[in-house]
Amino acid sequence: MSGAHSGALVAHQFDDAEQQHASASLGMWIFLATEVLFFGGLFCGYTLYRGLYPAGFEAGSHLLKVQYGAAYTVMLICSSLTMALGVRSAQLGKRKALVTFLVLTILLGAAFVFIKLRFEWYGDYLEHIVPAIHWAPQGKALAEITRLGASLNHVELFMFFYFVMTGVHALHMIIGVGVMTWLLILAWRGRFSPDRYNQVEMAGLYWHFVDIVWIFLFPLLYLIGGRY
C-alpha cells in the first residue's frame, strides 16, 4: 500500500490507488454487463426459434461435431486457469511467471481461433452447410435432416445462429488475444508490480467472461436434443 500516492501510479483524477482500482474494477464489470446484453439479443432470437422449430434446431445441431465443441471448452477452461494464475503472479509481483502464463493464455486462445476457422468452419464449408455462402446440405447431413423431418429452412436458420454466435464469440477471442499480447509486452518490460496490475486484472475479467459465453454456447449449439 505504501507508495501508492507517488505520482505516476495514480492518475491525476484519483485520490489514491484504492479509488483507482475500485473504479477500474467497477467500470470493467459494467462493461461486461453490456456484453451480456450484447449476446443477449442473440440468445433471445435463438430461444425463440428453438422453441418454434425444435426439429430444425436439433437437426442443425447434429450437423456440428461434438468433439470440436468439447475440445474448445477444455481449451478455454485451460486458458482461464492460466489467466487466473497470471493475475495471481502479477499480484505477487512474479514477472517471469506472469510472462509464462500470458504466453500460455495467448497460445490457447490463438489455437482456439485457428482450429475454429481452419478446421471447423472450413469443414462446414466443404460440407455445404454454410448458410447464404455455401448452402446445399447433402449426403449424411441431408439424411439427418430428413430423418428428423426438419425443414431445410429451419436448419439454415439454426446454422445462421451458429455462425453468428460463434463468430461474435471468436471476434471477442481475437480482441482478447490482441489485448493479451499488449499486456505481454508490458509485462516483459516489467511494467507490472504488486502495486500496479490493474490492466492485467481487467483483461483477466474480460477473458473469463468470453470463456463463460462459450460455456453456454457449447450445450446450446452442439448438444441440442442429445446425441443418443
Binding site: 491525476h12 467497477l26 454487463a33 451480456v36 439479443g41 433471445c44 425463440l48 422449430y53 447464404a132
Partner: protein, 538 residues
Amino acid sequence: MGTAALEVPSISHVNYLNASYGWRSWLFTVDHKRIAWLYLVAITFFFFVGGAAATLMRLNLIEPQGALVEPATYNKLFTVHGLIMVFFFLAPAVPAVLGNFLIPLMIGARDVAFPRLNLLSWYIFMLAGSVFLYSVISGGVDTGWTFYTPLSTTYANGNVMSAATGIFISGFSSILTGLNFIVTIHKMRAPGLTWFRLPLFIWSMYAASVIFVLAMPVIAITLALLVLERFFHVGIFDPALGGDPILFQHLFWFFGHPEVYILILPSMGVISELVAAFSRKRVFGYSFVAFSSVAIAVISFLVWGHHMFVSGQSIYAGLVFSALSFAVAIPSAVKVFNWTATLHQGSVSFDAPMLYALGFIGLFTMGGLTGLFLASLATDIHVHDTYFIVAHFHYIMVGGAVMGYMGGLHYWWPKMTGRLYPEGWARLSAAIIFVGFNLTFGPQFILGYLGMPRRYAVYPAEFQVLNVMSSAGASILAVGYLIPLIYLLWSARYGPLAGPNPWGAKGLEWTTPSPPPTENFEEVPIVTEEAYAYAKET
C-alpha cells in the same frame, strides 16, 4: 483607447479555456470540460442538419400532393431527420455536453473516472456521425428511424448498411459515456457528498447512464444482425426461412423505449436544477424526485411492447405491456407535481432558463398525458402510426427535452464561458420557441385523431388546413432556434463577465471561478450541507 473592442472585459484568471492553445490542445484534450465543448459543436451541427430536414418536410407538406420533393426523397428526409435528432443530437445533448461538463463539477471531482475513455467516446461518436453522414450524402436511407424488417433487410434501396453501421458505432460511444458516468458518480464524489446530498441532476444522469449501458448493446447486436441479413440475404428476421419480422420489433423496442427515457431523464434533471435555482428553494419532495428517476429507468425496460399493439403481438402480451406503460407514467407525474409545488412560497424569477423550465413542465405534461392515449389498448389502435404519435413525441422531445437542454445551456453558459448572454434576446427567443412549437405540433394531434397516417409524402386534401398551420408554426420555430445560435456565439466573445455565481445559485459548480480552472477546484471541496440549501435556517 475607447474603441468598442477594448470595452470587452477580459478574463484574467487561468482557466480551462486559456490554459493551453492550439487545435491539438482541443482535439487531444482529456479535460471533461473541453470534451463537453467538442460535443457541443458536433451536436449543434447535427441539430441544424436534422432541423433542415424537418424544414424541408414541413415545406413539402404544405400541399396535399407534395409541394417540394418526390415521395422517395421525403422518405429519406424523415428517416434522416429522426435518426439524426435521436442519435446524433438529443441522446448526446444533455448527457455529453452538460453532463460531461457538470458531473465532475457538481460532485467535486477533478475529472470523470476515465478521461481518456471520455475522449475516445467523442471520437467514436464522430466516426459514427461521419459514417452516417456518408450514407446520407451518398444517397440516403429510407427505412424510417425504426428500421423495420423486411423492408430494411430486403426491399429498401437506400444505404441501409452504412446508416445502420453508423448507428451501431454510435451505440458504443453512448455505452462508454454511460459507463464513465456511473463509475464517476459512484467513486469520485467529494468527501461528505452522500447520495442524498447530490443534486437531482446527478440522480437523473445516473438513471440515464444505467439505461445507456443496458439498452445500447441490444440495439447494437440487432443492427448487426440486420446488416448481416441485408448483406447475405439470409438471416433471422427473414420470413422465407420461417424467421419472424416481429422479433426485430421486439429487439428494437427493447432498446427503443428505454432510449426515449434516455432523451428525457437528463432534461428532467436540468429542470430540477433550474426550478430550485430560480425559486431559491430546495426542490419539493427531493427524495421522491430522486427515486422517480430510478423508477423510470427500471420500468422503462418493461413497456416496450406498447409500440406493437397492432403488430400482431399476442393480445395477452399487449395487456401486460399496456398495464406497465401506465405504471411508468406515475413517476413522471410525481416529478411534475413536485416541480410545481417547489414554486410555492419561492422567490421566482423569470430569467430565460426559468422560462424554458416552465415551458418544459407544461409541454411535457401535455406530451406525457397524450402518451396515456397510446398506452390504452383501444385508443392506440386508432391513433397508432398517425400524426397523433408524431405530436405526442415532439411534445415530449422538443417541447420537453429540447427545452430542458436549451434552459440548461443558458443556465450554465456563464459557467462554461465566463460570460453572460443577453437576457432580453434570450427571453424573446424562448417565447418565440414556445409559440412556434405549439403552432407546429398542436394541430398534429387533431390530424392524427382524424386519421392522417405518419410518414406520408402526399395526403388526402381534407387534411391540408391543419398541415399548413403546422408548417407555419415550424417556420416560427426555426427563427426561435436561430436567434440563440447567434447571440450565444456573440456572447462567448463579447458578453459581460459573469463572475463565479451570477444566479446566486447553490451547488459546488458555482463555488469555483467561471470558467473553472482545469483541475476544477483549488482544493477538494468538503460537503457539509444538503443540496439546494437556500433558506436561511438550514
